[in-house]
């Protein structure tokens, strides 16, 4: 724990990449299957629906506030599976009326049942009740423009990361992003939550967060690999792994501080206070942020490091470092090849390092040799 706190962990993030890739691959595949088989449950904003309007006739309701009336209508609709309808009170010259928008139900009888329930709840006659089909509020134009904006955004980000770091990092970041969005969408499909404009907003938040987090991690990887791997003192993989260990605590802290408010939104807002709308939004954010933090470390960087290791320059570095390690194994006490030695190579003499860490370094070296 103390070591974790001080950022002196020594987890082999990249060495165990096959495990991470297997986990992520299986998750993404599972989500893809769920998405393809179950599809997404589009809300009324996308799919359109039916709007029912009934005047509030029941004298008992005349005294009640808008919110109380809405709650009564909602509880009348809940048994019909339409509890998540958009219910509003309209106040005009002809007094108050209730306006209910539900998704269209394929069965006309069930649809009529919804209209009847609305009318009954406010004491209106059926011939006073007006029901008509409504189109989508979101509109194809909004979707088309949002998609175009996203594509341009991704191109800009590819260009920016390529310029600031390198293009392989840019692609690795996009891989992690796709991973995050796919898993979030899969969970949505699995739970069967309605996709509303809030969901889109949540997905965009996740997109922003995922890239943000990956860039923070890559900034560290870039710094470490430039200092050690490029000069040939360490393999790219080890340098990246060191960066991961340094940045690990920050990732844990950040996800914790980001998740705390979202979890509060989910459990206090939606759970205890019953704000249903918050539930969908908070769930999407919660999953997205957790997956986003995970993917920066366990997907983006391993992908990047496998890719970089295959470059001739880093292959050469790798061979040289392995040779050195083998030689060093004869005299472990002075070995500089520990997993995190880059943190303080100059200021910390090898002899004073805790023996535990040296052993870890040895183990790793052996594993590498066997491969």
């Amino acid at each position: 724990m103390r070591r974790l706190y001080r950022g002196e962990t020594d987890i082999d993030f990249i060495g165990r990449r096959r495990l991470w890739f297997a986990i992520s691959g299986a998750l993404v595949l599972l989500c893809l299957v769920i998405l393809l088989t179950r599809g997404l449950n589009y809300g009324i904003e996308f799919a359109g629906g039916v709007q029912t309007r009934a005047p509030i006739v029941d004298p008992a309701l005349a005294e009640e506030t808008d919110i109380e009336v809405i709650e009564e209508v909602r509880s009348a609709l809940t048994p019909l599976g339409a509890g998540n309808a958009q219910i509003q009170i309209v106040t005009g010259d002809e007094g108050r009326a209730v306006l209910v928008q539900t998704k269209e139900i394929a069965d006309p009888e069930a649809q009529q049942e919804v209209v009847n329930s609305v009318a009954a709840a406010v004491g209106a006659e059926l011939d006073q009740t007006d029901s008509q089909r409504i189109g989508s509020k979101w509109g194809s134009e909004i979707t088309a423009k949002a998609v175009r904006a996203l594509i341009i955004f991704l191109l800009v980000i590819l260009a920016f990361i390529s310029w600031r770091f390198e293009w392989k990092m840019a692609l690795a970041a996009i891989v992690a992003l796709a991973h995050d969005l796919m898993i979030t969408a899969g969970v949505y499909s699995l739970v069967g939550f309605e996709v509303t404009p809030s969901t889109i907003v949540a997905l965009l938040t996740i997109l922003g967060y995922s890239l943000y987090d990956t860039v923070v991690v890559f900034d560290k990887v870039e710094e470490n690999t430039a200092a050690f791997a490029a000069s040939g003192r360490k393999t790219y993989q080890d340098a990246a792994n060191g960066a991961m260990n340094q940045v690990f605590m920050r990732s844990l802290n950040t996800s914790l501080t980001t998740i705390l408010p979202v979890a509060a939104l989910l459990f206090i807002g939606a759970g205890l206070l019953g704000a249903e709308t918050l539930k969908d939004l908070a769930l999407a954010l919660l999953i997205g942020i957790m997956v986003g933090t995970y993917s920066s470390i366990f997907v983006a960087t391993p992908v990047l490091s496998v890719w970089k290791e295959s470059e001739p320059k880093y292959r050469a570095v790798r061979e040289r470092v392995l040779r050195d390690t083998k030689r060093a194994e004869a005299a472990p006490a002075v070995s500089p090849s520990g997993g995190d030695g880059e943190r303080a190579p100059a200021s910390r003499p090898a002899a004073t390092r805790p023996p535990a860490r040296t052993r870890v370094g040895d183990k790793k070296a052996k594993r590498r040799k066997r491969r």
């Binding site: 706190y5 001080r6 950022g7 359109g48 709007q51 919110i67 509003q88 009170i89 309209v90 106040t91 005009g92 306006l99 008509q132 089909r133 409504i134 189109g135 509020k137 509109g139 134009e141 909004i142 949002a146 904006a149 341009i152 955004f153 980000i157 920016f160 809030s198 907003v201 965009l204 938040t205 922003g208 967060y209 890239l211 943000y212 860039v215 923070v216 900034d219 560290k220 940045v247 605590m249 920050r250 802290n253 950040t254 501080t257 980001t258 705390l260 408010p261 979202v262 509060a264 939104l265 807002g269 206070l273 704000a275 709308t277 918050l278 939004l281 942020i289 943190r343 303080a344 200021s347």
Partner: protein, 542 residues
């Protein structure tokens, strides 16, 4: 090395700006605008009519145009829905005043292009004062013609002289008029009472001769030829541009059918111009029964190669340019052209107040959850980072003050509406802002571990951490900017909040956090103290 003075200056600047903004907002009683879901608003039902019935695609297109028109900045998040085959339901957030709602929805008529037959001043035509052609248009009236025009070419209406002239000329040259209008228009107007303004009656009016007032000066009337095919839906694009000579202009692109009709009309108008007809060689742009502008055809003689309108040729290819006086006029006209193209005529059938869809309890739940989350984060950072955690507290408070002021200000000035989704977004941004501190503090630990002195570690670590924050925030910031400019509807509202939060984060990281940590690290109590000390938090063994 940053001097302590510089740190103090930045710190005070950040605090003054953020809390000054908050104080200003509180003093003026401005609060953020709440969205439709949280505070309700006004509902308007419009009924569309068209000969031979309303087609669903056309209704849908009308919905898109209305949405665009209401939501000019794109952050008010209205609901606009097609309903029941011929209705359009509109719900606007927080608009308690119905009149205001109707103003926002604006004109519901079609846009048309019509030849000017006559310009009639309020007190009836005065048949004298024949000016020399060309020349003195008043501001707002000197828009000019077709394919690019010369300033000082054939400017037009609205000035008294022009009005007078118009009457005379129309009278004199009646016989030269082209087929579509029966030859009596101008003459009749002179002899009789000023004509009645034509009432709008659906799209049928497009094939009739009409009399409409000027949009800026209702006493000025125009007699206009039938529009025929030249209605708003032929416009593909309209943009305000600065032409090479530095003047503002509006470019219009039309679709193919429109381009043909436009070429025919402009060719005729160019011929009339060549015959010296100053009035009748103009085309008027009409929206909602009002003449937005009337403009003549540029004479090829005084225009650069290929930019004049020739008799017998007209403006071909569907691209035109209209010279406009000022930037504002150009932008207004472009907006009218771009969004005025309603393919249907709409009548307003009902206006009501609507209650919120979610209500105050959702808002309260959201805010309470946000407060609890924030409290947990604050507790966590102070346990974990000790005195540095206090910097996070102060930083988050500054962040909150800044974002609250900005949201209130934008709600007031641009109609930004805060929906529940937007509030959730801000709650997430608390986490992301906190990350800036965590990145910085973890960086400090690294520097301290590598054996630097406290002071050197702070200098270097904070500078390096700021770079990381800048890169990462650039990514989120560019997401916000691109989404804001390219997307519409709720996505745009989200982009604005995200962008603001990111910007404030960068500013606070630079001006506030860096300075605060720099100053704290020099204070012995904060750096050495047993429990509160930074050294303790950073794991420095002294």
């Amino acid at each position: 090395m940053k001097s302590a003075r510089r740190y103090k200056f930045n710190l005070i600047l950040a605090v003054v700006v953020a809390y000054g903004g908050l104080a200003a907002v509180l003093a003026t009683g401005t609060t953020p605008n709440l969205g439709l879901d949280l505070s309700g608003g006004t509902s308007v039902i419009l009924t569309a009519s068209a000969e031979g019935g309303v087609e669903p695609e056309v209704l849908q297109k009308t919905v898109e145009i209305i949405r665009q028109r209401i939501d000019a900045l794109g952050v008010a998040e209205p609901e606009v829905t097609a309903a029941g085959g011929e209705n359009i339901l509109i719900q606007l957030p927080g608009v308690e005043n119905e009149q205001r709602a109707l103003e926002i929805i604006g004109s519901t008529a079609q846009l048309t292009f019509r030849q000017v037959l006559e310009i009639i001043p309020a007190d009836g035509p005065v048949p004298e004062a024949t000016d020399t052609p060309g020349g003195e248009g008043t501001p707002g009236a000197d828009e000019t013609p077709g394919a690019d025009e010369s300033p000082g070419g054939d400017e037009t209406p609205a000035s008294d002289e022009t009005q007078n002239r118009s009457a005379t000329q129309t009278g004199d040259q009646e016989d030269e008029q082209e087929g579509e209008q029966e030859g009596g228009g101008g003459g009749r107007a002179r002899d009789e009472e000023p004509p009645e303004v034509t009432e709008e009656k659906g799209s049928a009016v497009n094939d009739e001769e009409v009399v409409y007032p000027d949009a800026n000066d209702p006493s000025l009337l125009y007699r206009l030829a039938p529009a025929g095919e030249l209605t708003g839906d032929i416009i593909r694009r309209a943009e305000a541009v600065v032409d090479p000579s530095g003047n503002w202009a509006v470019t219009i692109e039309m679709n193919r059918e429109g381009a043909d009709a436009w070429a025919e009309l402009t060719s005729e108008l160019a011929c009339l111009r060549d015959e010296g007809e100053q009035i009748r060689s103009q085309v008027a742009i009409v929206l909602d029964g009002k003449v937005e502008t009337a403009t003549g055809m540029r004479d090829p003689a005084g225009a650069p190669q290929g930019q004049g309108v020739e008799c017998g040729v007209g403006i071909t290819g569907g691209s035109s340019q209209i010279d406009v006086g000022t930037e504002q006029e150009a932008k207004d006209l472009a907006l009218v052209l771009q969004t005025g193209a309603l393919p249907l005529t709409l009548t307003q059938s009902e206006v009501n107040k609507v209650s919120p869809t979610l209500g105050r309890d959702s808002l309260q739940a959201g805010l309470l959850a946000g407060a609890v989350g924030l409290a947990l984060v604050m507790l966590y950072v102070v346990v974990y980072y000790r005195a540095l955690g206090l910097v996070v507290w102060a930083g988050l408070a500054t962040f909150t003050a800044a974002i609250y002021s900005l949201l209130s200000f934008l709600g007031e000035s641009s109609g930004l509406a805060l929906t529940l989704a937007g509030i959730a977004g801000i709650i997430v941004s608390i986490g992301i802002t906190t990350d800036s501190y965590i990145v910085a503090f973890e960086r400090l630990k690294d520097e301290v571990r590598s054996g630097k002195t406290m002071r050197a570690a702070v200098e270097r670590g904070m500078a390096r951490a700021f770079r990381t924050i800048l890169i990462a925030d650039f990514v989120t910031g560019s997401a916000a900017v691109i989404l804001f400019f390219l997307a519409v509807g709720p996505v745009r509202g989200f982009a604005l909040t995200l962008g603001l939060a990111t910007l404030i984060d960068v500013l606070i990281a630079y001006f506030f956090t860096r300075s605060a940590v720099g100053l704290l690290s020099r204070a012995k109590f904060f750096s050495e103290g047993r429990f509160i000390g930074i050294k303790e938090a950073l794991g420095v063994s002294s």
